[in-house]
């Protein structure tokens, strides 16, 4: 469940500029999306929360976190039904990613 740059390394083929651009987008967008997700939950707009999870879920795929992707996928589907079963697990995934990205050298 640890994030990895394996996919980005393979994709970029050594193009460090490209890899840095992707990481900077992730670092910029993920906290904003996570905040929007929390706001959606607070206002009980679970459908909107599920839409944000869907977007974040794609970012999870770029970091090769297969198990986390499955949890996010289930969380997205449950949110659509108004169920909050995977709240904690999803939060842990986000924090793990943010932690990982923030430790990446500029």
């Amino acid at each position: 469940m640890k994030p990895s740059f394996g996919y980005l390394d393979k994709l970029s083929g050594g193009n460090e500029k490209f890899k840095e651009r992707i990481i900077s987008i992730l670092l910029k967008e993920l906290p904003t999306e996570y905040k929007s997700y929390q706001n959606a939950l607070e206002s009980k707009n679970y459908y909107w929360a599920s839409e944000i999870v869907h977007r974040i879920k794609q970012k999870i795929t770029f970091l090769e976190m297969k198990e986390s992707f499955k949890i996010a996928d289930q969380h997205e589907n449950y949110l659509r039904e108004g169920k909050l079963i995977y709240l904690q697990e999803f939060d842990e995934i986000i924090h793990k990613i943010l932690n990982f990205l923030s430790r990446t050298p500029e």
């Binding site: 994709l11 970029s12 651009r21 987008i25 794609q58």
Partner: protein, 235 residues
């Protein structure tokens, strides 16, 4: 080959952009996060290929395809493989790439697009099943319902909705008659009144200024009468 990408997720767009840069025959001429932006672009430019995400807020990729009269080749990019099956019911969709997109799969999809472009299929715009003849999809409560075009009797404007009346039932779709008309074959469907679009094949009889279709009596507006009669001679 001119192409665009439509995806609400920015990293996905960047990745498609990067992969396109590796292909000498591909020229990415637009990158859009919303269907509306892409529509505006496609109103003034034609493209050979669209990389299209399915799950987008407000307007799904499938709905986007339905609104294109002559869709170019489309490669679906999605993190959900469940949509793959539905994707292949659209003639314009030539491949499905699951996210994260693997470079070798991207290359294969592009090779396929090139082959199709060089074949007879690629020389003329590919018609999707929607701008073709046999069926359309309508969006009811976030579900896409497949309707055989031949079963549609008529469509009636109803405020912000359109009532689609088929042989068996009727549906209320949040759209306009003008939009629905774009999805239906011009040879068979004609607007005979500001509020009515009819399937000419379903006419039972014509009396003065009305047409009987199924159990519905539909008025023919004076301004559209000539076109209506001319069209009937072509059937």
């Amino acid at each position: 080959m001119d192409c665009i990408v439509l995806d609400d997720e920015s990293v996905s767009r960047e990745i498609v952009n990067f992969l396109c840069e590796q292909e000498p025959d591909l020229k990415l001429i637009g990158s859009f996060s919303s269907a509306i932006e892409a529509f505006k672009f496609l109103n003034v430019r034609t493209v050979d290929l669209i990389f299209l995400d399915i799950h987008m807020p407000g307007f799904t990729g499938f709905e986007f395809i339905q609104t294109l009269k002559s869709p170019p080749m489309i490669i679906i990019t999605s993190s959900d493989s469940e949509q793959a099956l539905e994707a292949f019911s659209y003639e314009s969709i030539i491949d499905f790439l699951k996210k994260p997109i693997q470079p070798e799969k991207f290359k294969k999809a592009i090779a396929k697009a090139k082959r199709l472009q060089n074949s007879d299929l690629g020389k003329s715009p590919i018609k999707s099943s929607f701008s073709g003849q046999d069926h359309i999809y309508i969006n009811i409560d976030k579900k896409l319902i497949k309707l055989n075009v031949s079963e549609i009797q008529l469509l009636m404007a109803d405020g912000d909705y359109v009532k689609v009346i088929t042989e068996k039932t009727e549906y209320r779709v949040h759209t306009t008659l003008a939009n629905m008309r774009k999805s239906l074959p011009e040879d068979n469907f004609l607007r005979i009144h500001r509020s009515y679009l009819i399937n000419l094949q379903k006419i039972i009889d014509i009396q003065d200024n009305t047409v009987l279709i199924g159990k519905s009596v539909v008025p023919i507006s004076r301004t559209r009468r000539t076109e209506f009669l001319r069209k009937l001679n072509l059937i």
